[in-house]
């Protein structure tokens, strides 16, 4: 491996060959150990007893119920966050107001809150011991240890990602096109749906992609509100934990393999989107 410097770089920026080779070698070793090896191990353990054992584990009724619930929770949480994220990004990126920085900070808050704390706050609100718990129980509505709580916890944890994907792209594009649309008589909806969102399409896709990956993979927050009821309130990550605790390694890693696949597809799409966004930014000057 020859440590050639980036194209267009100058001789003064070139590191001595052995140094560059050593740095590249270390980087590849670290990435191999920490990022590639876990993926390999998941695949290896999932297929340790062959493809039939993997298929049987994935087709297990409890596994299927977990897959269904994971898809359902994501199918609710992602559109909710899409709606909120677009509204937040549009307000923050295209308008200037006092408290803009505060709104941005609040939007990012769920990233720094522990998922366990995120789950707990909903237990404190809606649980049997919670503020609204008795009122809800009287009306026969179950939020905690049921699907609504899992959706709420998932929405909380994945709130920032759509806005985070949109804001940089929307800011970069400025407001000239929106102003032109308004001059031509477009209202708010038309401007948003015909100008701002299509222009920021890649950023939107990027945000939805990350939201979906995090929603399907969320563990801590959902674990706290779910109550771990098999076949009822078990998502795929929770099912991995249950099978792992039962020493059913093939079962645990088979479900884990599906989730790892989701992560790899997400990364591939993300890399593709980033390349397209970079190209478009380059064209835009």
């Amino acid at each position: 491996m020859s440590g050639t410097t980036a194209p267009g770089a100058r001789p003064a920026l070139r590191d001595p060959g052995p140094v560059a080779a050593a740095l590249i070698g270390f980087a590849l070793l670290w990435i191999g150990l920490f990022l590639v090896l876990p993926l390999v191990v998941v695949a290896q353990e999932a297929f340790a007893r062959g493809v039939p054992a993997f298929l049987a584990a994935v087709r297990d009724p409890d596994a299927l119920a977990a897959i269904r619930l994971t898809l359902l929770v994501a199918a609710i949480a992602v559109p909710v966050n899409l709606f909120l994220g677009v509204a937040a990004a549009w307000a923050v990126a295209k308008h200037d107001f006092r408290g803009r920085a505060l709104l941005l900070a609040l939007l990012d808050l769920p990233i720094s809150v522990s998922p366990v704390v995120a789950g707990l706050v909903f237990v404190l609100l809606f649980g049997a011991q919670g503020w609204l718990g008795p009122w809800l129980a009287e009306r026969g509505v179950k939020v905690i240890f049921a699907m609504p709580g899992m959706v709420l916890a998932t929405v909380f944890v994945t709130l920032p990602y759509v806005a985070r994907g949109l804001i940089p792209v929307m800011r970069r594009q400025g407001v000239e096109e929106e102003e032109a649309a308004v001059t031509l008589g477009a209202g708010a909806w038309t401007t948003l749906l015909r100008i701002s969102l299509p222009n920021a399409g890649l950023g939107l896709l990027y945000g939805v992609l990350l939201t979906n990956a995090r929603a399907m993979g969320e563990f801590g927050a959902v674990a706290v509100v779910s109550g771990h009821i098999r076949g009822e309130t078990n998502t795929m990550p929770l099912h991995v934990e249950i099978l792992h605790n039962e020493y059913n390694e093939v079962g645990a890693f088979s479900v884990a393999f599906l989730l790892a696949l989701l992560a790899v597809v997400t990364l591939a799409l993300k890399a593709w989107l980033e390349r397209r966004m970079a190209r478009r930014a380059g064209e835009g000057g």
């Binding site: 270390f26 609040l106 708010a188 993979g217 591939a268």
Partner: protein
């Protein structure tokens, strides 16, 4: 809704020709208030409703203090290692061209995208006494899985992308003239890198460090499988909250969660200050 209406309704807004501020801001502010602020405020109120003795007994019990020590200590250590490794990875990915670079670059985000439970079981399998790394470490008399070292390994994994991703764009935009000038003035390559490049990367690296630390402190999924979860030894603070909840001790869970929330708010504030300094530096 027309722009004139929004201008009257929200006087704190700077006038702009783009319509739709009021509904967009309204939806975003309502959503964030209901989904984030009210629930977090509920936690703060519940904690504040406890007597000080009750709160302190749970939040500062020997077991809780041991859990904080492990969570914050292992997170700090992992974030520092990730700072050094992250700078190095960013340097390699930005400055060198080699086969597999794009794949390596895409893989950096794996800890973001991989569900934490999957990372947990995979790292446990690798670090267990019969796993690849576990056997290797055992040769040196080190036990990886089911010890505090296991916590550290899991936090190394989940904190890996942050410094790389904050430093990468700054390094890519760094003007080559700076290093050329240093070389022309007779600085060695090492001196040019440590005196010219590293200081320019410092704000971005610090922002990444704060993010990696904040994420690690609250991390749950990837840690609990590998940690062994022995009270006083390898039990992280988020797990202790779950343990208290499973024992229906909502008061204790609330008290510990309030401490963790206060810590993450503090870290968020530090991160915001660093971020602002970074943006100011970029604007210059």
């Amino acid at each position: 809704m027309s722009a004139s209406v929004t201008a009257r309704a929200f006087r704190f807004r700077r006038p702009s020709a783009v319509p739709g501020f009021a509904p967009a801001f309204g939806v975003a502010a309502t959503g964030i208030t209901l989904l984030v602020l009210v629930p977090l405020a509920a936690l703060a109120f519940r904690a504040a409703g406890q007597s000080w003795a009750e709160f302190a007994a749970a939040a500062f019990s020997p077991r809780a203090l041991a859990a904080y020590r492990l969570s914050f200590g292992a997170s700090a250590l992992a974030a520092l290692v990730n700072l050094v490794v992250g700078l190095l990875l960013a340097w390699v990915l930005v400055r060198y061209r080699f086969p597999g670079r794009r794949l390596a670059d895409a893989l950096i985000d794996l800890p973001f995208a991989l569900p934490t439970a999957v990372a947990g079981v995979a790292l446990t399998a690798i670090c267990a006494p019969d796993g690849l790394a576990g056997r290797f470490a055992a040769g040196f008399g080190i036990k990886l899985a089911f010890t505090p070292t296991g916590v550290f390994v899991a936090l190394l994994f989940i904190g890996l992308p942050y410094v790389v991703r904050t430093v990468q764009p700054v390094l890519a935009d760094l003007e080559p003239e700076l290093e050329e000038a240093a070389a022309l003035l007779g600085a060695s390559r090492w001196r040019a890198v440590t005196r010219v490049v590293l200081p320019a990367l410092a704000p971005a690296a610090a922002a990444g460090l704060a993010l990696a630390f904040a994420r690690a402190v609250g991390e749950y999924g990837s840690v609990i499988f590998i940690a062994g979860n022995m009270p006083m030894v390898s039990e992280i603070a988020p797990l202790l909250i779950v343990v208290q909840l499973e024992e229906y001790d909502y008061g204790a869970a609330t008290a510990i969660a309030a401490v963790m929330l206060a810590a993450s708010l503090l870290l968020l504030a530090i991160g915001a200050v660093l971020q602002r300094r970074l943006e100011r530096e970029e604007a210059r």
